[in-house]
Symmetry: C2
Subunit: 207 residues, 2 copies
Amino acid sequence: MPPKIKSPEEREKLRLLILDSARTLFVERGIEAVSMREIAKQINYSATTLYHYFADKDALLQALCDADFLALANGLREIMKIPDLLARIHALFNGYAQFAFQHPNHYRLMFMTPRTPCNLETTQIQQGNTEQDAYAQLKLVVFEAFDAGLFKPEFNDFELIAQTLWASIHGVCSLEITLGHETWIQWPSLEMRLNTMQNAILQGLLR
Amino acid sequence: MPPKIKSPEEREKLRLLILDSARTLFVERGIEAVSMREIAKQINYSATTLYHYFADKDALLQALCDADFLALANGLREIMKIPDLLARIHALFNGYAQFAFQHPNHYRLMFMTPRTPCNLETTQIQQGNTEQDAYAQLKLVVFEAFDAGLFKPEFNDFELIAQTLWASIHGVCSLEITLGHETWIQWPSLEMRLNTMQNAILQGLLR
DNA sequence: TTTATAAATTAACAATGTTAACTTAACGAC
DNA sequence: GTCGTTAAGTTAACATTGTTAATTTATAAA
């Protein structure tokens, strides 16, 4: 029974409800549990209704992803206020890792699952906007440090430095997520691994 | 028409045929193309036959994965013969990366896809055996360098060092595989990214 | 009151992983 | 040689998936 004509606000509300339902399933039971029918059942709609709000499953996942990128950027925004430059870099490192381990399923979807390249028309995120884009935040900090001459002179491309820093944390996080439960590897504590990476890579890059 | 009683060799042959068929589909069309029916059709068997050789799809994938771990270890074995220690470490770095980009789908399955922890009873690979286990090879080299006192004294756990090195390359490789085609990131060349990581992390760790 | 349309639903399609039931042919025992 | 037994396969079926077409329902406008 369709109570007709939804105001734009109501439409948006249902859109968010769908995303929330998907997120719940996703977080609780992993990506393989996210079926269109299950998402719909959880909010008492039929599966077809979802297709009036998202073109297909990929589009829905992409939208989820967008929201998560925003969440990450928001989480890091506080950190960006730390005055001391090096302290800020360390805090960014840790903040990023914390996000990864608090939301491993989101992290997987965002950074470990190849998907059709982000459609710049479709996505809500303004890439490069420091408010919304975590990578832009990282670049900002790195540029500041670069400008202050903190890096060894051989590292002379600040974008390359930023990506190296990113890859180093991402390496630790994603190995933990995929292989962290393998018993044939003697993992030291996650904290030690993160600290070691942090110290090693920064000592390598900084003067 | 079942020509009866297969010798153990013949059974093994079909097992390998199935794995090969799966691998082909996998490499050509990505992981989502690997359906039991397709694998079977390609070698003119019915899908059910596959279940006489593998418990389920996961087991088949796991077996594929095992074979790929062996392939990686084999590829690195030549490198392990390089006499100079540092040259060997650099070559390991590059050999690993080369494997990742020559077989991105395999790499994804091996290191970027969470799966049920490797069943030590089921798997063919002898973990810790340098002949078969790439991680064991890395540990060996790192231990040698550790023993020779090449690392800064603050890095005093050679397993932790090995994992840090691993995570650093893996970070570059897996970011490339998942996000390498995103246009909103200005990627320098892959080679530069790999070299930068290599230089930075080794400078950080080495005396 | 009629009509057009937004919002939702039911029914159906083809593809998937997987299992049960059945067929066929070769081997060992007599 | 004939007769079970059993390995090696197949076909048929089930439940679940993403997705689309056809249909219903209730409201807003005429």
